[in-house]
């Protein structure tokens, strides 16, 4: 790769990252450009991959003699009937099949996997040789019971039940807090790579130019505001 190609390859992601972050200062055309580029590329990639997968998992096996794929492909094409008023109803047939198969698959495992096993996992011993384990188990049992009671609306939350349900509310708040903390972590991590692009050579030069433009814009808008006030 030539030096120029290397510089351009390093500059493009840095420039795009800067264009995206410029939104934090002000909505602008550079941000709009990256927004549209991202959507365009994403749609293009999705369409190509979908096409590739239909060829690989539907058309190729059919050509090899797996004629079971023929009704599947016909059903797939029936989805496009949604674009025509007269034949619109045909599009619901493949959707019915997709939804029913999905429901059947998930329902069969949901009762045992997500309800029975999860309930049994909360039946924990509270007197084990390990005191720390007892404390942990007690928290799990208390958290489960009080949270479930919090969502019991058939009886009024008064008297001693009020205190118990309040404890349940605290457990919910702690759980939501932990989830929120994790979500913050998850969404701050993707920023690291663009920041590296922006701070490494040659991206740093672009960043310097952007900072300069922003500074000029701040000074200009302040001057404009002062003139308007006068």
């Amino acid at each position: 790769m030539t030096l120029l190609a290397e510089v351009v390859t390093a500059l493009v992601p840095a420039a795009l990252a800067l264009m995206v972050f410029s939104h934090l200062y002000k909505y602008n055309y550079f941000f709009k450009f990256t927004e549209h580029t991202l959507v365009g590329i994403a749609v293009g990639v999705e369409m190509y991959m979908a096409y590739k997968s239909i060829i690989a998992s539907g058309v190729q096996p059919m050509l090899k003699g797996q004629y079971i794929m023929v009704p599947a492909l016909i059903l797939g094409f029936m989805v496009f009937a949604i674009f025509f008023k007269r034949s619109k109803y045909l599009a619901s047939w493949p959707l019915v099949i997709v939804v029913s198969v999905g429901l059947g698959l998930s329902a069969s495992g949901a009762i045992y996997g997500q309800i029975i096993t999860q309930i049994t996992a909360t039946f924990l011993p509270l007197t084990t040789p390990d005191l720390w384990k007892d404390v942990q188990n007690l928290i799990i049992v208390l958290g489960t019971v009080t949270t479930l009671l919090y969502f019991t609306f058939t009886i009024p939350h008064t008297g001693p039940l009020k205190r118990v349900t309040r404890l349940g509310r605290y457990f919910i708040m702690i759980a939501l807090g932990a989830t929120f903390g994790g979500v913050v972590t998850t969404f701050t991590t993707p920023v690291i790579t663009p920041v590296i692009w922006m701070t490494e050579t040659p991206g740093i030069y672009l960043s310097a130019v952007v900072v300069l433009i922003i500074l000029v814009d701040i000074i200009r808008s302040r001057a404009l505001r002062a003139r308007e006030q006068e």
Binding site: L105, G109, Y112, I192, T199
Partner: protein, 276 residues
């Protein structure tokens, strides 16, 4: 206007600037904070190390490109570890971007592939994107060979020696699932239907959602995003991006926590004053 009022009415762009500095400073001057390895990471490491020779490990790499920084270090560290062992790996993805991020990882473990003489088709296979989500999971567990007719590179499945041995989940020893979504359907298909022992590599935000399944022993363990990657890198001694990025994570988290504390103090102060 007093200091408190000024802080309450501060332009949010100043906060963005502070947060940006929290990102930039550790990137320019790495601190090198020590990384404590959690039990969850130890469990995955020990399980992989104890896999018998010739075991087939299924690797479901299903995460979008936007999460590359969060997920890639852990995925690469685990893949590199698998390639140092005498085991076979079958990669598949349930999102269209999955094969692309799988290729990023395979590019990064090129050294291990060459060093340990791993051959494509014999030691590892990339099936690529398998559409259908939960339906695809069920199909992969019951009839792996016929879910796709060709791999990601367009080779016919019949021509790949490894795939002639992997008919269904019974031929797999272990499964690693990389996901940015809930565990429910994976538990239903990989654990209940497939009967597989499986571990998850998920975003840090999903760790509280996966914990109940780990406690119920429906998942062996769950590694949390970048942090999990940094821990796994430390365990294997193959220090890469995960460990390097932990400084940035620490500084941004401290900034976020500090901002949350200050905002809460200001809120309580304002509420107290309006009550008075």
């Amino acid at each position: 206007m007093g200091l408190v009022e000024k802080m309450i009415k501060i332009d949010s762009r100043w906060l963005w600037l502070v947060l940006l500095l929290a990102f930039v400073i550790p990137v320019l001057n790495p601190i090198g904070l020590p990384i404590r390895i959690s039990n969850e990471t130890h469990v995955l490491y020990d399980h992989i190390r104890a896999l018998p020779e010739g075991s087939v490990v299924a690797f479901d790499v299903t995460y979008p490109y936007a999460y590359l920084t969060e997920m890639e270090p852990a995925v690469t560290a685990v893949t590199a570890h698998l390639f140092t062992l005498p085991v076979k790996v079958v990669f598949w993805s349930l999102t269209v971007e999955g094969p692309l991020v799988t290729m990023v990882t395979l590019e990064k473990v090129k050294a291990e592939i060459e060093k340990y003489g791993k051959k494509y088709g014999e030691d590892y296979v990339v099936l690529g994107y398998v559409p259908g989500e939960e339906t695809a999971m069920a199909a992969l567990m019951t009839d792996t060979q016929h879910v796709v007719s060709s791999d990601y590179f367009g080779n016919s499945i019949d021509t790949l020696p490894l795939m002639t041995k992997v008919r269904n989940s019974r031929d797999m020893r272990f499964l690693i699932c990389v996901s940015v979504l809930q565990a429910d359907e994976k538990v239903r298909q990989y654990f209940l239907k497939g009967g597989l022992t499986w571990a998850a590599i998920v975003t840090t935000g999903w760790i509280p959602g996966y914990r109940p399944f780990v406690e119920a022993k429906q998942i062996l363990t769950a590694l949390g995003g970048l942090r999990g990657g940094a821990e796994y890198e430390t365990l294997t001694g193959r220090i890469a991006r995960g460990a390097a990025y932990m400084d940035v994570m620490s500084s941004t988290h401290l900034t976020t926590v500090a901002a949350a504390i200050v905002a809460n103090i200001l809120f309580l102060y304002q509420r107290g004053r309006s009550k008075r």
